[in-house]
Amino acid sequence: MFFNSLLTNFAALEVGQHLYWQIGNIRLHGQVFLTSWILLGALLVFISLGTKKMENDPKGLQNLLEFLWDYIRDLARTQIGEKVYRDWMPFIGTLFLFVFVSNWGGALIPWRLIKLPSGELGAPTADINTTIALALLVSLSYFYAGLSNKGWRYFEYYVHPTPIMLPFKILEDFTKPLSLSFRLFGNILADELVVGVLVFLVPLILPIPVMFLGLFTSAIQALIFATLAAYYIGEAVEEHH
């Protein structure tokens, strides 16, 4: 009865439905690319507007961008360390901006008003493909950072305090991307679902605090993702004696 109608309402949320694009033999989740292109396009427009006329006395948008840059630099510097943070700052910053813009864009823009033949638009980070892609990039980065900075001595890290740590350190290489991707995916998807369900049940007022909470978690998740990525890279390039 009620439960059944709730279930059909859940079904109306279209969880796990995708807008498939078929290109040759490969299939893509079209809605993920559509939203990411719109959001990244907005981000790039915003950034090119802010950096169009750079002055020594910052005004308006340049101020905001400089604040952002400073924030990202501090994040990268505290996690990666003074020596190599410069090389990794663009990557960490891009991760932060991408996740942040995706999360907030997914939460703030009423995508549901745009009807798709299948699936619905939403935060690109609510798709497991995106988060796994980001997490794997982080894994590759810290391997690359460790190997390029320390060469084969990077693998000393695996037996660092004692060789007993070896299996755990190897296991960590798998759990790191797993936890990174699932944390982001779970948080953003759960937020979208909670807001969606609440909007279905009580369309007025009640979802608003939850939406604010969603914005908060979205920002925190972006920060956590970037911080952890920077931390992993910092761990890989760290010199221990």
Binding site: V15, H18, S36, A133
Partner: protein, 153 residues
């Protein structure tokens, strides 16, 4: 492609992993390069230039401040030495004037004493002269009296 059925969706589902993953990874890498050339590099140049400018100014100001402090200390020592010099000169002059005063006093005293002595001697000589004269007159007078008495007889 690896695909789980989730929430009863006919195809796909929440954990439908397909070519979206590598394409998204490529997109993020491309975004990293774009943002690096569009955002991180230009903003970094401006911010670091300004930070360098500010830190240079601070260093310069610190140098100037230390120079000012050095000059101040220099001036203070100069002032101190000038003060002691002035004190020395003043005390020297005081001594000098004291000496001169004493000398002048002594000289004046001596002179006064001498003139006093001279005056006393003169008074004495005049007194004795007057006394002599008086006694001579008395002698003369007595002789006259004696002569007159002798003549009357």
């Amino acid at each position: 492609m690896l695909a789980f059925n989730f929430f009863g969706a006919t195809e796909g589902g929440l954990f439908d992993i397909n070519a979206t993953l590598p394409l998204m990874a490529i997109q993020v890498v491309a975004l990293t390069y774009i943002l690096n050339s569009l955002f991180f590099k230009p903003v970094g140049t401006v911010v670091e230039k300004r930070e360098k400018f500010v830190s240079n100014n601070i260093i310069e100001a610190k140098n100037k401040l230390s120079e000012v402090k050095k000059l101040e200390a220099d001036l203070l020592t100069q002032l101190q030495s000038a003060r002691t010099e002035a004190q020395r000169i003043v005390s020297e002059a005081e001594n000098e004037s004291d000496k001169l005063y004493k000398e002048a006093l002594e000289l004046a005293n001596n002179e006064a004493n001498a003139s006093k002595e001279k005056a006393r001697l003169e008074i004495e000589s005049q007194t004795s002269a007057a006394r002599d004269q008086l006694s001579k007159q008395a002698d003369d007078l007595s002789e006259l009296i004696v002569n007159r008495l002798i003549l009357e007889k």
